[in-house]
């Protein structure tokens, strides 16, 4: 990166050119999950499917971990990762709970509490 880095936003990855380059293979795989046949192929043989999309070792490890923060660190974009989460049966509140280290109930309560903010 050659541009002056802007101030970071806590707990937030801005998906810019650097991320888009880094995450390309992972996001391309996730984009393929719009197709039910591809989702099925992933479920049948996850490693082979990751191979087919040329995931980096870091990305493969992140997929294996089911850890969303790790998937984001590997360049994953949440819009595409959501399709992987769908395969894993996780909704956005499950993702939120996992990323914030809360139970799903606690995460929901936190959302609810924002109404008073």
């Amino acid at each position: 990166m050659t541009r002056s880095a802007p101030a970071p936003i806590p707990g937030t990855t801005v998906f810019d050119g650097a991320e888009a380059q880094k995450g390309y293979a992972l996001n391309r795989m996730c984009f393929s999950f719009n197709d039910a046949a591809n989702r099925a192929a992933f479920v049948v043989d996850e490693a082979a499917y990751c191979d087919r999309y040329g995931l980096t070792p870091e990305q493969r490890a992140a997929v294996a971990s089911r850890n969303v923060l790790q998937l984001i660190a590997a360049g994953g974009n949440i819009y595409y990762l959501a399709k992987l989460a769908g395969i894993l049966g996780l909704n956005v509140q499950d993702l939120g709970a996992q990323q914030t280290g809360m139970s799903v109930e606690a995460f929901k309560a936190k959302l609810q509490a924002s109404a008073q903010g």
């Binding site: 888009a20 399709k83 924002s114």
Partner: protein, 283 residues
């Protein structure tokens, strides 16, 4: 000449689509959200738009990072929804209005917007859900979808989105067809799905936005994209479409309805209706 009758904006959280499919509108969780729509439906029944321009963002159904456009305009007779990968029922196709599409394209390119013209375009939940919210009986008018990049930074700035909205307003009002047109924005308000800050909601900023969108949309163009991310969340930047919608209404504006409810799924859900009455130009 066409008449720009007003603008609407509403959140497009996927869970809403599931609630509609499952007829949960009167469940305790959903009732406060769906109950907000009465005045919007009443207003639509009054102004009866014959065509709508829908400002939305794609979430990885139609566009991928191989070729990511800033602004794409649909120019098809029909727009299909499709499997987005996580279980929402696929909607029936929506009718387009190619004549208005090409008129808008001609006008916006002349005003130096660098569009992608789409004779084929898959529309995702961000287009479909608002159409179903505003026309729950399925009698929605034909639409011209305009898709904003909110996926990959650099996004169009708030100022650029505002200018697009202004030019869109002029485009609609110069359409020679004698039809009533409304502009719909979808997305927002504050929410963030990803990162340690997942679940971030900013009621104070949302309420400020709702006020400014009604009374002074230009004020919102002072925020940089990063400031919007910080204040509104990674996905809260969808407010860009709301800014463009409000900017399109260049006549005498009348606030019809605002509704705000926390939370729907991870999102601060909102609804806004502004009427527009064309001011005859002095010429």
């Amino acid at each position: 000449m066409a008449k720009l009758v007003g603008g609407l904006a509403v959140s497009h959280v996927p869970a809403i689509g599931r609630a509609i499919a499952d007829h949960k509108q009167q469940d305790a969780y959903w009732k406060p959200f769906f109950d907000g729509f009465g005045p919007a439906h009443d207003w639509l029944a009054k102004v009866r738009p014959e065509v709508v321009v829908v400002l939305y963002n794609d979430h990885g159904l139609n566009f991928f990072l191989d070729k990511m456009p800033t602004f794409s305009v649909g120019a098809a007779a029909q727009y299909s929804n499709a499997d987005e990968g996580w279980g929402l029922p696929v909607r029936h196709p929506f009718k387009g209005d190619p004549d208005l599409s090409w008129h808008v394209i001609e006008h916006l390119v002349e005003e130096e917007f660098d569009l992608v013209t789409c004779q084929e375009l898959l529309v995702d939940h961000a287009f479909c859900i608002p159409m179903e919210l505003f026309w729950p009986n399925g009698d929605m008018p034909p639409a011209v979808p305009i898709c904003f990049n909110t996926v990959q930074h650099p996004l169009p700035s708030a100022l650029r989105s505002y200018k697009l909205g202004q030019a869109l307003g002029r485009a609609i009002e110069s359409w020679p067809e004698d039809k009533r047109v409304a502009v719909i924005a979808t997305g927002g308000l504050s929410h963030q799905l990803d990162g340690e800050r997942a679940g971030f909601i900013n009621k104070e900023f949302d309420l400020l936005c709702l006020d400014r969108l009604v009374n002074d949309p230009k004020a919102l163009t002072g925020y940089t994209t990063r400031e919007l991310v910080a204040l509104s969340g990674s996905q809260g930047v969808e407010v860009l479409m709301w800014i463009a919608m409000s900017a399109a209404l260049t006549g005498r504006r009348r606030h019809i309805h605002s509704h705000y409810h926390i939370p729907i799924s991870n999102t601060a859900a909102a609804l806004l209706v502004i009427e527009n009455e064309a001011v005859p130009s002095p010429a």
